[in-house]
Subunit: 257 residues, 2 copies
DNA sequence: ACCTGAACACCGTTCAAGT
DNA sequence: ACCTGAACACCGTTCAAGT
């Protein structure tokens, strides 16, 4: 995704490392990024349970001690992958929100980005869930937990914004007794559930029998129709919007990774 | 849940054990059930990553060899927990479907049961997802994989049935181009996503700010309204239905566990 | 000021020896 | 016909010794 994403190499954390020259600091950040790429690959290949710090060490050019300078436990590393995932998501969401269309179409663009992220980075996507697990949280460094929370809040605020915009321009009217919060949660649950099931349970027959290309769009349309977010799906060809999002935002970029 | 659930002790698997007396067979099944309860507890306490076969051995009265007669790897044990979870779900779903009400209310009852299961057995609930992971599937015994698939199919058919009933009695009309499959998947994704986020990311602010009691109901209502499943939520007080489900199906039973 | 890798305690899995 | 637990290869984490 780097082509529309400012390079957010983590200058934080560094549990032990102190004041050093900017150059040295950059070298350390680069090494951390390199280790995270490798870890993501190994987790993807063998699953969380089979991923070991030993394998990470043997596949990298650094020693165990150095790796433990970056991550103070295996769980802390999962936490770091979660942070990386949230940063990527946020970048993609910002980019998606530049889509030209009505407020419901902008929301679709963001959810398209979410799906794209989940499918292209299944390991990172699942890390976000793992990282919320008590076992992982207990062993993560406080710095990383704080960073995680900060990013989660940013994502939430961003989503709140999509709904506020729709309310402001009149395309969405809150029914009495329904809070904006609960609508944001509904979309989140729906798109998270759709992505999680498709990414990790794709082999299940009731999932593989679906048309992958539109499963997410269908689900979202049903939900947004239920909320009464105009224009409703029978008044607008959102399949065409879905294709336009793909074309305008996520293809034909020069330096795609 | 045992009070409305036939005791489905697993007579299958038994990788190694051959023809034995019925009594002996029962003893072995009992031991397996005992080991699963213990494993579920340990996983719940320390997370998947920190759960070890050593701890299982030390906390049980059996030797490592005996435990490896039941489960041919740590992953196979996760697979067994997934099976247990699906069996419990199916029992609860059957029970829920006896709820007296219109087709949409019956569907609500089933989803109520799903939430109840997820909240009361968070570890089992998450095991179903873990078990679909390649790393776990690769190391599970073929017997357990087959059993898993069989149960998943039963659950899917059961859900298909809820929708077919609604179509038959006219409360749900399929729009052209929309398949029953995709509606079933939408409900599943929504309720799975809602449960997974609430069970495992309850600490996230955008979730904890919700009214837990009704988050699931709100989400489902939005979705079913979007599908046009009558009566719509502004024509029927589904909060009252939700409370009736709780009262009539899931409380005041004599031997509740 | 950081990096290294030997060392230690622990874990998954097997299998020869028992009953 | 099963159960046991010692044994082995491997893993997470630390820290004294190096540069």
């Amino acid at each position: 995704m780097s082509f529309f994403c400012k390079n957010q190499s983590t200058k934080e954390s560094k549990c032990i490392i102190r004041r050093v020259s900017a150059k040295r600091q950059q070298a350390i950040a680069d090494r951390e990024a390199e280790l995270l790429v490798l870890a993501e690959q190994l987790v993807g290949e063998e699953g969380f349970a089979n991923f070991t710090m030993d394998k990470l060490t043997n596949n990298s050019s650094y020693s165990k001690g150095t790796i433990y300078n970056h991550f103070n436990s295996k769980e802390d590393l999962i936490s770091a992958l979660c942070i990386k995932s949230l940063q990527k998501e946020l970048c993609l969401f910002m980019h998606a929100a530049t889509f030209e269309g009505n407020s419901r179409e902008k929301c679709l663009a963001v959810l398209y980005a979410y799906q794209k992220h989940a499918f292209e980075n299944p390991t990172l996507f699942m890390c976000v869930l793992s990282a919320k697990t008590p076992a992982v949280m207990e062993k993560s460094s406080p710095e990383r937990l704080e960073k995680q929370e900060e990013l989660t809040k940013e994502v939430t605020q961003f989503c709140d914004g999509l709904f506020s915009d729709a309310i402001e321009d009149g395309s969405l009217v809150l029914r009495t007794g329904v809070e904006l919060n609960s609508l944001v949660f509904a979309i989140w649950a729906m798109s998270f559930g759709t992505n999680a099931l498709m990414v990790s349970a794709g082999a299940v027959e009731s999932i593989s029998r679906l048309d992958n290309r539109f499963a997410q769009l269908n689900n979202i349309n049903l939900l947004l129709d239920g909320m009464g977010w105009h224009p409703l799906s029978d008044q607008c060809d959102y399949r065409q919007t879905w294709a336009r999002i793909e074309n305008q935002l996520f293809t034909n970029n020069p330096a795609t990774l």
